[in-house]
Symmetry: D2
Subunit: 290 residues, 4 copies
C-alpha cells in the first residue's frame, strides 16, 4: 500500500446499443491521446443487445485538456454510438446529503467512514424530518437541517429541501432509514442519484415493517437492499443486497437487531460504489462494475 | 470419530402451551427411569406463549420397554400438558419417496448421500410423471414408478400413487423439482411429511420461472427454499433457505446454473433435518433444532 | 415487540463431567422453587464426555431470595456434580473497558450500539496507548484514559491499568484493534473476560499484517475472528468468525477496507454474546449458546 | 434463454508487463479484422505493474482463418508486448481426467454435471488408486483406470498414468479427493492444469485430516479450497474458496458431512472456470475472470 497521492483520473460511464468496434474506438481515442488506462470494464446484455462500459484513465499526460474532454468525447465517440454517458473526475468528489429520521445505525456507519477518511468525500450534510439525531450532527460538527413534515406541508417542505440541496451543490442523496416517501419532484430532479436502504431482500416484504412480515412468514434468512429510488415504492433498480441467517430462536426484536447490521453495510457499500462511479442503471436493473 | 455402532435412541418431539415445570417433569420422567439424555433442546415462542422441545435418550438401560414408551409418556406427561407430540426410534429409519420430473441435480444429490451411507436411510423409491430420469433409477438399482399426468387423469393417478406410497410404507415425500402441483388429498394424508424445494428465496418469486422473475427484477442474490407443502402454493412452513450472490454478468442461464447448486443443498439439508427428527411445524412456521 | 420492561432474570452457566440426571436435578431445583424457566440449553461434548448448560429463569416468584441463590445452588447442585459455574443477574449489567489504538471502526460500532441502547449496558470507559481517538471519547462524553506504552514502562503502565480497571469495576475488556500485546498478569486477572478481534480467519495469518499475508497467499476469502485472549498470541478460544469473498481485483488497501466491516461485526457479536452470558470456554474451545 | 446453438468463439488469455496501449492494440486487431467481441476483461496488478486480459470474440465473420489466428496474434501483438498467452476455441472442449480414491461426493457432483450437459464437456475418464468407486464409473459408462500405488511402484505407476493421459488427449486433471501426492513429473507435465480440492480454507490446516485440526482448534467456520497443484503441498495458486458456519454442536463427523458439501461445490466451480478459460495463474496467485 503506497502512500503516494492518488493519481488524478477521469472516469467514463457509458451505455448504448451494442455494435462492433465500440471498445476499439474508445481505447484508441484514449491511447492515441496518451491517456493511460487504469481500468476498463465492459458488459454486453445479450438479451437486450445493449453495451455498457466503465473506463478510468490518468489525466496527467493526457493530451486533451480536462475542460475539453467532454466536448471531444461527445463529438468523436458518444454521438456516433448514441451513447448515454457520464464523465467524472476523481478530484471532484461527490457531495452527499444524508436523510435520516430516528434510527442512528446507518448514520453512524456513514459518518465513521467519512471521519476516518475511508471514502475521501467532503463533509456531508444531514437532513431530517425529526430532531432526534441532531445531537449526532453536533458531535461530528456537521450541518443539520430540520424539515418537519406533515400531510399539509409536505410539498412546501420539499421545495425548501430542493432549494437547500441545490445551494449546497448536493449530487448524491442517501436515505439512511428516512421514514418518509419522497415526492416525484425530488426523484425527478435527482434521477438515479437517490439511494435508499430497504430492510428486506426485495422484492420480498415491500413496504412497512418488513421484519414483522418476515417473522410472520417464518423465513430462515433476512436481508437488506440498497436501491435507487423511483416513483414506485421499493421498486427501483437494485444496487446491492445481502442477507443473514436466522432461526426460530430469534424474536422480531432480534431480527431488527441483526438486520440493522446488514442494512448499514449494504447501504455503505452502495454509497462506496456511487462515490467510485461504478454503477450504471438501465431499465430497472443496475450494472455494477466492482 | 468412533466407529462403534450408534446407540439405539428414542426421540421425542413435542409442543404445547407454555407453563411452568414441563422440562422438569419430562427430564424427571426420563431420569427416574434411567434414561440417559443424549440431547435436549427447548424453545419458547414468547409471542404465542407456546413451548417446543426435542429430547433424545438412550433406549439401552431405559426401564420402560420400547413398546410401552408411547403409552407411559402419553399418560404421565403428554395428556397433562395437552401436548402435540411424536415419538421416533433411531432403529426405525424413514422410508422416502423421491418425486421428480426432468431435472436430475437434486435427485443425484440425494442418491449420492444414500449410496454413500451419509444418511443411514433405507433404499428410497422414485416416482415421476415422466420417464426422463428412469435411467438414473436403473443406475442406482432403485424402483422407479411412472405416473404420467394429464388434466383428465390427475386425480385417478394420484389415487394410485397413494396406494403405492401406502404399500411401500413411505413416511417422507420429497418433491425434488417435481413439476406438478400435488392435490389436497396427498397433502392431507402426508401432513408435514411432504418437502418441496422452490427455486427462490420465498416469499419472493412465488410460482413459475422464479429465475426469470429474479433476472427481470435485477436482484443481486438468488436463493432456494425448502418447505412443507400445504394447500396454498409455495406458502407452507419454511424449513431451510440459502442464497448465492449474483451480478449483472449473469444471464438467466447462469442464474439457473448457480441456483441449482443452492437448490440441491437446501433440499438435502431439509431432508437430513427430517431424517433426524429435528423439525416441528407450528402455525406456518418451523422450529428447527439443529 | 412489546415495550414492557424486561423481566429480572438469573442466568446460570455451568459445565462438568457428564453424568445422568444433571438436567433433571437442575430443572427440578428451579421448578420446585417456582422459578419459571425462560430458556434452557445444554450440550454434551461426546469426545470429552463433558456437559455444558445455560439456564435462565425469572427471579420474580422464585422462592429463593436473590442473595441466597448462589449458596443454595452451590450446596444442592454444583458441589454434587463438580461443576464449574457462574451465576449472573440481568439487573447487574456488565461494565466494559474498550482498549483502542488508532483505528476507529470497531470503537464507533461499539459506541453506536451503546448510545442507541441496543445493548442495555452502562457507559463504558476507553483505554488507549495513543491519543488519536480521544476526540471520539469526547464526542460521546465517555471517560478516556491514556497509557502511553514503551518497552521500558509497559509493566508499570499495566499495573496502573489494572488499578483503574479494578476501581471502575470493569468485568469485560474489549481489545478493539488495540495494537499492544497484553501481559500475562492482565490475562490472568481477567481470565476469559478479555475479547480480542483478529483481522483474519484464525488460525490462518496469525500475528502482524494479516491482510498483507492474505494478499500474498492469494486467498479468495478474508475474515475476522473474535477470541478470548490467552498467553499464546492469537491462540485463545474462538468466539465468532466470519468472512467476506474477495477477488484478484482487490488490492491490499481494498482488503483492509472490506475486512474492517467484518471485524467490527464479528467483534460486536462477540460482545453481545458476552453481555448476554452465552459463552462458556473449555479447553481452548467455546460453547456459544446463541 | 435462447435455444440457438452457441456461437463458435475464440478465447484469448494473456498477461504481460503493463504498458500503455495494450487494450487499444488488441481490440483494434480484432475490430479491424471484423471480430465481434463477446466479452473483454482486463486487470492491472498495481503492485507488480502487470497486465492481464481475457477476450472472447466470434469466429464467424472474423477475417483471419481459425488456423492462422495463433500465428497472426503472435506476430502482430504478443511478441511486441512479451505476452504469456493461450488461445482456445469454443468448439474444442476440454478433455478431463478425474482422479479419485474412496470418497464419492465430488465424483458424483462432477458426473451429474457432465451427464446433464451443464458443462458441455466430452466424456471424462476416471483414474484411481483404489477400486472402490469403479461401480460408479460403470453406472455412468465411463472408462475407469486402476493404478494401485505403493511406495515401491509409485514412480513406475505414474509413468503409466502419464502415458494414458497422453494417449487420451487429457488436458485437465481434477484431483477429486485423490488421496495420493502426485509427483513433480506429473505436475511439470500438466503445469496449471491439475486442480485439487483441499478440505480447509487454506492456508489454515494444511496436510492431513484438516477437519480434525479444525475441530481441535475450535473454529466457527470450516471451508474448502480448490487450487492448482504445485510441488509444495497445498500451496499452489488458489482458484476458489468457500466456507460454512459451524458451532460447538457439530462433532468431527458433522464437520466432515457439512464440509463435503462445500468441497464439491468449490471444486465444481473451479472446473467450470477452467472449462470456460477464465483463470490465469501468475506468481502463486490467480486472476479469475468470472
Amino acid at each position: 500500500m503506497k502512500t503516494t497521492a492518488p493519481k488524478r483520473t477521469a472516469i467514463l460511464l457509458a451505455h448504448c446499443p451494442d455494435q462492433q468496434g465500440i471498445i476499439a474506438n474508445v481505447t484508441d481515442f484514449l491511447h492515441s491521446n496518451k491517456g493511460n488506462i487504469i481500468s476498463l470494464e465492459q458488459h454486453v446484455d445479450g438479451e437486450q443487445n445493449h453495451f455498457f462500459m466503465r473506463v478510468e484513465w490518468e489525466l496527467d499526460g493526457f493530451l486533451i485538456p480536462k475542460e475539453k474532454v467532454e466536448e471531444f468525447f461527445k463529438t468523436l465517440i458518444a454521438d456516433r454510438y448514441q451513447m448515454h454517458w457520464e464523465l467524472h473526475f476523481s478530484d471532484q468528489p461527490t457531495r452527499m446529503a444524508i436523510f435520516v429520521s430516528k434510527m442512528s445505525h446507518c448514520l453512524y456507519d456513514i459518518l465513521q467512514r467519512w471521519a476516518s477518511k475511508e471514502w475521501g468525500t467532503e463533509k456531508p450534510i444531514i437532513v431530517s424530518n425529526h430532531t432526534n439525531l441532531e445531537y449526532i450532527a453536533k458531535r461530528f460538527d456537521i450541518p443539520f437541517y430540520h424539515f418537519p413534515i406533515t400531510k399539509e406541508n409536505k410539498i412546501e417542505q420539499e421545495q425548501k429541501m430542493l432549494k437547500l440541496l441545490d445551494e449546497q451543490g448536493i449530487d448524491l442523496i442517501v436515505l439512511a432509514r428516512y421514514m418518509q416517501i419522497v415526492t416525484d419532484t425530488l426523484i425527478g430532479t435527482y434521477r438515479n442519484r437517490i439511494i435508499n436502504i430497504h430492510h428486506s431482500f426485495l422484492p420480498a416484504f415491500i413496504g412497512a415493517k418488513p421484519y414483522h412480515q418476515a417473522y410472520r412468514r417464518g423465513v430462515k434468512v433476512i436481508g437488506a437492499t440498497s436501491h435507487f429510488v423511483t416513483a414506485e415504492l421499493d421498486a427501483g433498480p437494485i444496487i446491492e443486497q445481502d442477507v443473514v441467517k436466522i432461526s426460530h430462536r430469534e424474536s422480531i426484536k432480534d431480527l431488527i437487531r441483526k438486520g440493522k447490521d446488514v442494512e448499514k453495510l449494504v447501504l455503505s457499500r452502495a454509497i462506496w460504489l456511487m462515490l467510485n462511479r461504478r454503477i450504471l442503471a438501465y431499465q430497472n436493473r443496475t450494472v455494477v462494475f466492482d
